[in-house]
Symmetry: D2
C-alpha cells in the first residue's frame, strides 16, 4: 500500500525531526525533495558541504521507498555511494530526484541525482541500498 506525499511528509517530520528536507513529489517509484541552503549548509568559499548532499540523497531515497511500500518504520540504509560531480552554488536550493531501480522483498536499490535548483547538470549522484524488515506491515 503506497503512501501519499502527505503521509510521507508527516512520517519524515516525526522520524527525522532535524531534517530541513521538503517532499516535493512522490509516486511511481520516484520522489523529489528539496533542501534550502543557509549558513549551516555552507563551507568557507560558498560551497554546499558534502554531508548535506548525502543527507538530501538519503531522504530522497527514503521518501521514494515509503511512497512505494508504505510507511514501514524499520527501513534502514545499508549502503550509500556518492560521486561529487560539480560545485553546488550557495544561491540555490538543492534538489534531489530519486528513481528506484529495484524493489525486492528484502532489499531496495535506488539512485538520486542532486542539482542546484535551476541547473540541468547534476552536482552529485548517489546510489543507495536499503533493507526492509522481514515482516513489513505498513502502519
Amino acid at each position: 500500500m503506497p503512501a501519499s506525499k502527505e503521509e510521507v511528509a508527516a512520517f519524515l517530520a516525526a522520524e527525522f525531526p532535524q531534517s530541513k528536507c521538503v517532499v516535493e513529489s512522490v509516486g511511481d517509484r520516484r520522489a523529489a525533495v528539496s533542501h534550502s541552503i543557509g549558513v549551516h549548509e555552507l563551507r568557507p568559499g560558498g560551497t554546499v558541504a558534502g554531508p548535506v548532499l548525502m543527507a538530501v540523497a538519503d531522504v530522497a531515497l527514503y521518501v521514494a521507498i515509503l511512497g512505494e511500500i508504505g510507511i514501514v518504520p524499520l527501513v534502514v540504509t545499508t549502503s550509500l555511494n556518492i560521486n561529487f560531480l560539480r560545485k553546488p552554488t550557495a544561491q540555490a536550493r538543492i534538489i534531489g530526484e530519486c528513481t528506484l531501480m529495484k524493489v525486492g522483498r528484502s532489499l531496495i536499490v535506488g539512485e538520486v541525482s542532486l542539482y542546484s535548483e535551476g541547473s540541468s547538470e547534476p552536482v552529485a549522484h548517489v546510489v543507495g541500498t536499503y533493507s526492509i524488515p522481514p515482516n513489513r506491515s505498513g502502519v
Copy 2:
C-alpha cells in the same frame, strides 16, 4: 610537508566551522577523530543518524590527508562509499579511524572504520576518494 595535529585542527576549525569533530591523532598516513553524540545527532529510537557517520568519515579522511600532504586548501571529496554495519549506540562518542591506501599526485584513496567508543565491532565502513589540485603548495 606533513601537518601536525595542531595545524590540522586549526585548519579544520576554520574550514569546517560547523563540525564538532575532534582530531584525536594524525600521522603516518593515519588519523583518528571523535564526535560527541547529542540530541542533534540522534534519530527517534536512539540511533545515530547516517549522515553524521558520513560526516565523521569525511573529516577523518580529510585529517589523514592533510597530515600526509600538508595544509592544501583545495582538496575535495570526489566519492564516498559507506556501508552501515551495526546500529551505533546513543551513549557513546563515534570514533573514526582512517588509513590512507593510496597517496597519488592527483588522487588519494582511504578507508575509515567507524566505532561507537568502547566497542571493537565497527558500526560503519567508508572508502573515500579525494582529488588534489595540480599545483599543491602546502600553505
Copy 3:
C-alpha cells in the same frame, strides 16, 4: 575530437583483445555495447557470472569516454561500483547502456544500466570513475 563508432571499435579490438563486447552505438556522451552469452559466461544454474557484467560495464564506460574525448590511450579506471539487481537470463545477450555524468579535465564519471536483451528492467547498475592523463592528446 570525438571518435567515431568505427574508430572506437578498432581501438578496443587492439586494446582489449580478449573482450567479446560489440560496440552498438556511441556519441553525445552515451554508448551502448552488447556481449553474447555462452558457456564461458555462465555459472551453474544458468545465470551470467558477475565479473562478466562488470567487464561489460567497464567497456561501455570506456567506449562512451573515447567517443567523447577521442582515442586517448591512457585512460584508466579508478573506481567501479556495481549493484546487482536481477538475475540475468542465459538466453539473451547482455546490453550495457552508458551515460557520462561528468567529463572533467582529469576525471570522468559515468553510469551504466545493464540489461538482458529484450527486458526493460536492468539486471545491474554501475557507476565508474576514470582518470585521464594530464596531457591528453587524442591519437
Copy 4:
C-alpha cells in the same frame, strides 16, 4: 557450521568452473586466494585487466563467507565496489586477502585487499555485499 578449505575449494570448482582462483587459506572470518597471470589476464602494456581483479575479489569474498557460514549455495553478490590503486605487475600472481566486517542473518559485508604477490602495497581494494537466502541450511 563453517566449511574447511578443502570443502570450499571443492564447491568453488563445481560452482565457478571457469575460475582459476586457488584457495590459499580460510577461517576466522578471513580468506586468501591467488590467481595466476597469463596472456588471458593481461592488457597490452602488461597490466592485469580490471575485471580479473574484480573476479578475484568476488571469489575471495565468497570463500570467506562459505568458510564462515558453511556451503550455502544461494549466496549472491548484491554489490561490489572496487578502487584501483596501483598498476599490477604482469610477472606476479594476484593475491586477494579478505576480511568479513559483518556477518548478519541476511547480509554479509567484507573487504578485500588485492596485491601483486611479493608487494606490500595493494593494487586494488574492494568492498562487497552478499545476501544470504532466508532459510540457509548448509549442505
